[in-house]
Amino acid sequence: MIVADKKPIEEIIEEVKDKHNILILGCNECVTVCEAGGKKEVGILASALRMYFMKEGKETNIDEVTLERQCDHEYLEEIREVIDQYDAVVSLACGVGVQFMAEKYHSTPIYPGVNTCFMGVTEKRGLWTERCQGCGQCILARTGGICPISRCAKRILNGPCGGSTEGHCEIHKELDCGWQLIIERLKALDRLDDYEKIYPIKDWSTERSGGPRKVVREDVQE
């Protein structure tokens, strides 16, 4: 999933302090799972803002809506009838949802309520960690199912670097060395010989470097 983290309330207040009609718009997908932008977080943010405006003596209306998704037209259409009432929308979706809202509702200011962080997993409640950087050319078959691009601080394809110590990365003692994990996994799969194959220079044109990307599937287009 896409993992996000809540923005500090002060930052959100700074954006909306002069507004009169605000919609807090949650998303029922990834940001709900990572407890940053689902229905519950929409309620918490709305309450915090109401308290702020009350304290400031301002009459500001704050409504709460949580959509199934903010990255699909059909769900975003659900607010078409009401969007014009608002002079600001705070979207608690990931950056994708915020942008899709902005594209669709051109004249309504949309503000992000979360910081979108990475694609990752729930290791346990309250701990989400990165697994994929969307390089567009998956190499996991060669690395035993563990990604050196997302798990190594230097995205080294022929690691580990000389800074790997007792299974930890040189930049943080709490961080696993991605290459140590790869080696352990190759060992468990009885494939340690694969370690000595040199991974060739990677074509990064399918990642961010190649410019904004798209996937086109004519076979499923209507």
């Binding site: 080294i156 022929n158 670097c161 110590t165 080696i183 370690y195 000595e196 040199i198 991974y199 220079i201």
Partner: protein, 310 residues
């Protein structure tokens, strides 16, 4: 023995001499005198001088310019180049720039993470890794081509080196990793600073069992301690460094004013012992901000005078 490049370092190794290299860190400013002064301290006692490339990710005068300074002094530079700060365009371009000044040695590194340096908020590049940089230089030199496939007019003639850290984890892949670098085309290795000689000898033995010591010139890396504090710092704070407790203790048990002398002594003793290790072809003495001690170490270790191969 056949040589592939005009590198003096390569010629010395090919002739069967124990090579001696050292390094100079460029200044955090643009004063060329800093480099000239450091180089003058060591030039008669070493065969080649590495210039570090923004080591520990602290911004400094660039390695290439400092290497050109050495070249202008008639010395033999080893251009250190990290993959952290440059993509494949910049790397190839700088290699050609170095080649235009007839810089004949390169050390291919990934570089410390930027979080250690003065720009922790900066991006890192890592378009290619150190293994692939070895391949890149060899490709440019041997095929005379860019990575993109076009011909290079007057290809670089560089003796290609890399680092090896026998002490990083996991230990079991440290020799396979060396084998990988050899397969990538590396011709000389400068190791991480050696304090745990037993472990280094084990690594060399394992490399020797695979015949790797015949395929690559391994220069043992040494850094003399200036103080017990430095020994402790290296032991506890520098990633991938293996300083045995007894070495720290030996420094700590020495009166403070005698500690620099003791650090030099340990370094010389280490060289004497490592000379006997099969496959050690020379020494890389990294006297960090203590370059003036290199001549003393080289002389006391019986590595002076340096051979003349020109």
């Amino acid at each position: 023995m056949k040589v592939n490049t005009p590198s003096k370092l390569e010629k010395i190794l090919a002739a069967g001499h124990l090579a001696v290299t050292s390094e100079c860190g460029p200044p955090r400013g643009s004063d060329p005198e800093v480099i000239n002064k450091k180089a003058n301290l060591i030039k008669d006692h070493v065969d080649a001088i590495n210039i570090t490339d923004n080591q520990t990710s602290v911004t400094r005068l660039c390695s290439l310019a400092a290497c050109i300074r050495l070249k202008l002094m008639g010395l033999e530079p080893v251009l250190q180049m990290v993959t952290r700060d440059r993509n494949r365009i910049a790397l190839q371009s700088d290699i050609l720039g170095a080649a235009s000044f007839d810089i004949h040695n390169i050390l291919c590194l990934s570089g410390d993470h930027q979080s250690f340096g003065d720009c922790p908020q900066g991006q890192n590049v890592h378009d290619i890794d150190s293994m692939q940089l070895i391949q890149t230089v060899r490709h440019m030199r041997d095929e005379g081509k860019f990575l993109g496939g076009d011909d290079i007019e007057r290809p670089p003639q560089m003796f290609v080196g890399a680092a090896a850290n026998p002490f990083a984890d996991p230990f079991e892949i440290r020799v396979p990793r060396l084998a990988k670098k050899v397969a990538a085309g590396v011709e000389f290795i400068q190791t991480q600073c050696i304090y745990n000689l037993d472990k280094f000898e084990l690594w060399m033995k394992m490399a020797g069992d695979r015949g790797l010591h015949e395929k690559v010139n391994i220069l043992a890396g040494l850094t003399p301690f200036k103080s017990a504090g430095m020994a402790r710092y290296m032991k506890n704070r520098v990633p991938g460094m293996d300083v045995p407790e007894e070495v720290v203790k030996r420094m700590a048990d020495t009166p403070k004013e005698k500690q620099p002398e003791e650090g030099i002594k340990i370094c010389i003793e280490s060289i004497e012992r490592l000379k006997e290790v099969e496959g050690v072809r020379g020494f890389h003495i990294m006297a960090i901000e203590w370059e003036e001690k290199v001549p003393e170490i080289v002389e006391a270790a019986g590595l002076y005078p340096r051979p003349n191969v020109d």
